[in-house]
Amino acid sequence: MWVDQVSDGDVSGAFSQGRPDALALVYARFGPLVYSIATRSLGARSDAEDVTQQVFVSAWRSRDSFDPARGTLGGWLVTITRNKVADALRERQRESRVLLQAAGAGVRAPVAPADQVVDKIVLADELAQLPQSQRLVMVLAFYSDLTHDQIAQALGLPLGTVKSHIRRGLQRLRSRLEADGVAY
């Protein structure tokens, strides 16, 4: 049997208790989520690295303000990430305004981190949390044009298992989007 992941609840619990190893655990779990939102929103990798660093440092320093009863840790980190991305964009705009005014050019409107980008990455993150065989089923259901019985055949899984993976998988993705997404 494959090793399964520590649940998000365990990570969240360790974090809100301020356990010394908790930040490393939180970073291992949510680092790619935060970094992916930052790279997709900012383009430049160096900026995305800065934002990622700021998000986790800020999250750790303000961990007392995280209340697991009011929302998920993932959603809280997504909110911090969006704020830091907005700060970075504002800073970038301020710099470019100086440059553009020096060059006598007009000033472009700021580019906000698109909600769709955030939601799509939250979805990718939850997809990556699914058990392997279920993830395989969901990926094939989304991105191949195989029907569920063709997927069952391709993966050598019972039809009922594939149906159940699809139903529960969609529900789980939906719940995660409702908890951590922006537009849901």
Binding site: V11, A24, S36, V139, F142, L173, Y184
Partner: protein
């Protein structure tokens, strides 16, 4: 009348024509079922919008170093966490956190950096189109070499399925007996594409897809599977698939070496009869 079976709602959200006409009629008039269908269809629409959803990127190792320095975290945990983020499952991170240093230090490179050394293999330029499992529907997202950015194709050309095979573990690798995979080969007018999906545990290193020749020695590297253990690869045009007919997935350590690790996770043979000539009748790219 009872509500529509949730499985049927899920399949319909994916666009399948599931269920009987009575289900469709019920779902159209029942507020509960119609809402549920719309909820799930939104997820499907988001997942399919702009192509595959699996393109999470792992921050480079120095980012955690900076975070740990800023908050005064344990440096030993840094390495473990970096690895965890690089692909090891959380529980594996938790399991190795206690003895960090040793095993953890063996994997100092993010996959991307290790791969940068892997340009040429078997004297043949590498096809560097590692794609999330895509290429199948419209709208490919192609990460070229991992750093060059995202290329979106407005519409994928029409494809036909040439072959669909199961990939199975080999008897000589008992540690992989739970693994499984599938490879779907599709052809357009100008090229052939193989989509591979692997069911295997996360392990230090990365999974790489190869075409093996009949002599058992020659091989062509197609590229690495992504963090979701899927990938779509263009078969180098001109490849004689009647010879390079076996699809192999290896587990590669982050050691900078460009050759097959000799650790085969799963393998399967393309049906030679279905393959015809070389890898794409169009002009070489």
């Amino acid at each position: 009348m009872s509500h529509t079976d949730p499985v049927i709602l899920a399949l319909r959200a994916l666009g399948e024509a599931a269920g009987a006409a009575t289900d469709a009629g019920h779902a159209a008039t029942c507020v509960h079922c119609r809402t549920e269908l719309a909820r799930l269809a939104e997820v499907v629409e988001l997942a399919r919008r702009d192509g595959p959803g699996e393109f999470l990127e792992t921050p480079p190792p120095q980012v955690w170093g900076q975070i740990a320095a800023a908050v005064g975290a344990d440096p030993a945990a840094m390495i473990s966490a970096g690895n965890g983020a690089a692909g090891a499952a959380g529980a594996e991170w938790a399991a190795t956190a206690g003895d960090s240093g040793g095993g953890a230090a063996a994997v100092p490179l993010a996959g991307r950096r290790a791969r940068a050394h892997r340009h040429v293999k078997q004297g043949r330029p590498r096809r560097r189109l590692a794609v999330a499992l895509a290429g199948l529907a419209a709208g490919l997202i192609i990460g070229v070499g991992g750093t060059a950015g995202v290329v979106q194709l407005a519409k994928a050309p029409a494809t036909r399925v040439v072959a669909q095979i199961q990939l199975s573990p080999l008897p000589e690798f008992p540690q992989w007996q739970g693994a499984a995979g599938t490879a779907v080969m599709r052809a357009t007018a100008s090229q052939q594409v193989i989509a591979v999906a692997l069911h295997a545990p996360r392990r230090p290193g990365f999974y790489e897809v190869w075409l093996l020749a009949r002599d058992g020695v020659s091989m062509i590297s197609l590229g690495e599977l992504n963090a979701g253990h899927t990938g779509t690869f263009i078969v180098p045009p001109g490849t004689d698939l009647r010879n390079y007919s076996r699809v192999d997935v290896s587990l590669q350590p982050f050691d900078g070496s460009t050759v097959h690790s000799k650790t085969s996770v799963v393998r399967g043979s393309l049906p030679v009869a279905a393959l015809g000539g070389g890898g794409g009748s169009g002009p070489a790219r």
